[in-house]
């Protein structure tokens, strides 16, 4: 297994370089870039990551992730602002509550697939939005303002570096954890269920239980994004989780690629850059993002990450050289082997 080890070492080294470069962002770029673009992209990436995790490994395209983000954000904000609770304790409680709600959501959707799952999770996301926009306990339409994070974060608006590094650290941990989980019995079985739930049942797996627990994992990731996002914004309002935001997260995940987990962060970065810099050039940001989405869906249904992977594969296999076998069973998971159409089955 020499070549596989070699490849794994190269990938690990490349990953370390990327993380180190990202950690230097506050030192190199302006305060504005760090706060408005880098931090925001990482939070959106984390939120989209919860969607991509469910889609890539579970075959479940969920539109409830924005709602779960909101549950964590609102519950934590309420604990901090109204109850004066310690921010970290409030965050942990909010994450726990969100995971419980995620289990409930998972139990509801675990019997559905494809378009039905998409519609049920959309309904759950919209219900969550209406709940928070109409219940006064959570500030109603106004939301909750003045949510301060733990002391070491300081003021995220004037000094975005500390919270940026925290968000980066959380993103790296979540990414690594998902990659690890993919090769455990739980993760492999989840991919099996994605490929053929009927077969997995016949092999003795409890498909609904497995999907429900996967949904809870997705809820955990979305909750983490909700906590960090609310700390970063120092506020949360129903507008944060309305339908346009649900669709925006879906667009981010699709732009990055629904079949590779890193696609979530790639899509979030591309989206945030476009969102920020095209606004100065054109008032038609929505039109441009729509055109870009269309172009990506036509040219590369598995998003930018899929495009990048094919380009890298082409570079590796220059003409005249035999194509090396992909080490599918040697410790590197291969969600790219999943054809785009499979998720929609």
């Amino acid at each position: 297994m020499k070549p596989a080890q070699h490849r794994a070492a190269r990938v690990a080294f490349g990953g370390a370089v990327v993380v180190a470069a990202l950690a230097l962002v506050p030192a190199i770029f302006t305060t504005y870039f760090t706060g408005a673009i880098a931090s925001r992209a990482l939070i959106l990436g984390l939120a989209a990551g919860s969607l991509t995790f469910l889609a890539a490994y579970g075959g479940m395209v969920s539109l409830a992730q924005t709602g779960l983000y909101g549950i964590a954000g609102f519950v934590m904000a309420r604990f901090i602002v109204n109850s004066g609770m310690d921010p970290v304790l409030a965050a942990l409680l909010a994450i726990a509550i969100t995971v419980v709600v995620g289990l409930l959501f998972g139990a509801i959707v675990s019997g559905s697939e494809g378009i039905y799952l998409l519609m049920i999770t959309l309904a759950l996301g919209v219900i969550t939005y209406y709940f928070f926009s109409q219940v006064d306990t959570f500030g109603g339409h106004e939301g909750i303002n003045g949510v301060h994070g733990p002391g070491f974060i300081g003021d995220p608006v004037r000094h975005p570096a500390p919270i940026y590094e925290l968000i980066l650290g959380c993103s790296v941990i979540v990414y690594a954890a998902i990659r690890y989980l993919a090769r455990t019995p739980f993760g492999l079985a989840l991919q099996g269920i994605r490929d053929d739930p009927v077969r997995m049942r016949a092999l003795g797996f409890s498909v609904r239980l497995h999907r429900t627990l996967a949904f809870a994992v997705g809820a955990l990731i979305a909750a983490l994004a909700g906590v960090l996002g609310t700390w970063n914004d120092t506020r949360i309002s129903p507008g944060t989780i309305e339908v346009s935001q649900i669709i925006q997260l879906m667009i981010i995940a699709v732009i990055g690629g629904l079949y590779r987990i890193e696609g979530a962060w790639i899509g979030a970065l591309v989206f945030t850059l476009l969102d920020t810099y095209t606004r100065g050039i054109t008032a038609r940001f929505q039109t441009w993002i729509g055109l870009i989405l269309l172009a990506i869906l036509i040219l590369s249904p598995d998003g930018i990450s899929g495009l990048a992977q094919r380009a890298a594969a082409r570079l590796r296999n220059r003409p005249g050289q035999p194509r090396p076998d992909e080490p599918a069973g040697t410790g590197v998971e291969q969600p790219s082997a999943l054809k785009p159409g499979q998720v929609a089955r």
């Binding site: 690890y180 989980l181 090769r183 455990t184 019995p185 739980f186 993760g187 492999l188 079985a189 991919q191 099996g192 994605r194 490929d195 053929d196 009927v198 077969r199 997995m200 049942r201 016949a202 092999l203 003795g204 797996f205 409890s206 498909v207 239980l209 497995h210 627990l213 076998d325 992909e326 080490p327 599918a328 069973g329 040697t330 291969q334 969600p335 082997a337 999943l338 054809k339 499979q342």
Partner: protein, 256 residues
């Protein structure tokens, strides 16, 4: 208990029926298989063979009747629980886990019977399970294809993996739905040999259109026609039956 257990049937279906609308796909079938038996189920297309399989494995619920497996009533039991009791099956069209490597497919099949499906950490019994998975790959002739993604295997290889998925959990009852369908003559010979070499403890029920494979492997044959048991007998009796010839052999056998 042991004395009665050996005599008791491993699988018993009583008055099993399944209607799709008003149409009976399977109608009032009584069926018994003793431990270690090799049984073939024959019948023309639409005779209800696959529906009968799905009723026994639990993929569909019966309209009437009961299913007893390994001495317990499993009529209301979920598919996954019947599988964990020791029922392994293949499907008429291959159901392999297309996005995963061959080894991962077989690893999950081993894991399915062993439990620990929800473990979120690596290690543990993984090495043992993977060794078992590779042994199964060897048995079904996929030892060289372990790292290939199952979705990119050829049709014949997917049929081999399909049987591997049923064998890997070491089931007590193995149910194969047309394992020879779409295989070349040479592949059928390999398949027949593999079925004949099966552990004698394993009970086998086989749906097969290929009479050579079915009548070589089976000790007893059940003939289904329009959802009902037409006759049951040894392969010799089936070969000699004029009824079977008229219904089944006359139309398709030899043409392929």
């Amino acid at each position: 208990m042991t004395a009665t257990a050996t005599a008791a049937p491993l699988l018993r279906a009583r008055g099993l029926s399944r209607y799709f609308g008003a149409v009976p796909a399977v109608h009032n079938v009584d069926f018994e298989v003793v431990p270690g038996e090799r049984r073939a189920i024959l019948g023309p297309n639409g005779a209800g063979k696959s529906t009968f399989f799905n009723l026994i494995a639990g993929d569909i619920a019966p309209s009437e009747g009961r299913v007893e497996l390994f001495g317990r009533d499993v009529t209301a039991m979920a598919v996954s629980r019947r599988a964990r009791l020791g029922l392994g099956r293949t499907y008429q069209t291959s159901r392999v886990l297309g996005g995963l490597a061959v080894e991962d497919n077989l690893y999950l099949a081993v894991l399915g019977a062993r439990g620990g499906h929800l473990r979120p950490v690596r290690g543990g019994s993984a090495d043992l399970c993977r060794r078992q998975a590779r042994e199964v790959a060897e048995r079904v002739g996929l030892a060289e294809r372990l790292t290939v993604v199952a979705g990119s295997l050829s049709h014949g290889e997917q049929r081999q993996l399909e049987i591997g998925l049923a064998l890997a959990p070491s089931p007590r009852l193995l149910m194969l739905d047309e394992p020879a369908a779409g295989l070349s003559r040479a592949e059928r010979v390999v398949l027949t040999k593999m079925l004949l070499e099966l552990d004698r403890d394993v009970t086998l029920i086989l749906i097969e259109h290929d009479m050579d494979v079915a009548l070589t492997v089976a000790q007893r044959v059940t003939m289904l026609h329009q959802g009902e048991t037409l006759l049951e007998g040894t392969p010799q009796e089936i070969r000699a039956s004029q009824l079977v010839h008229d219904l089944y052999l006359g139309s398709g056998h030899g043409a392929r």
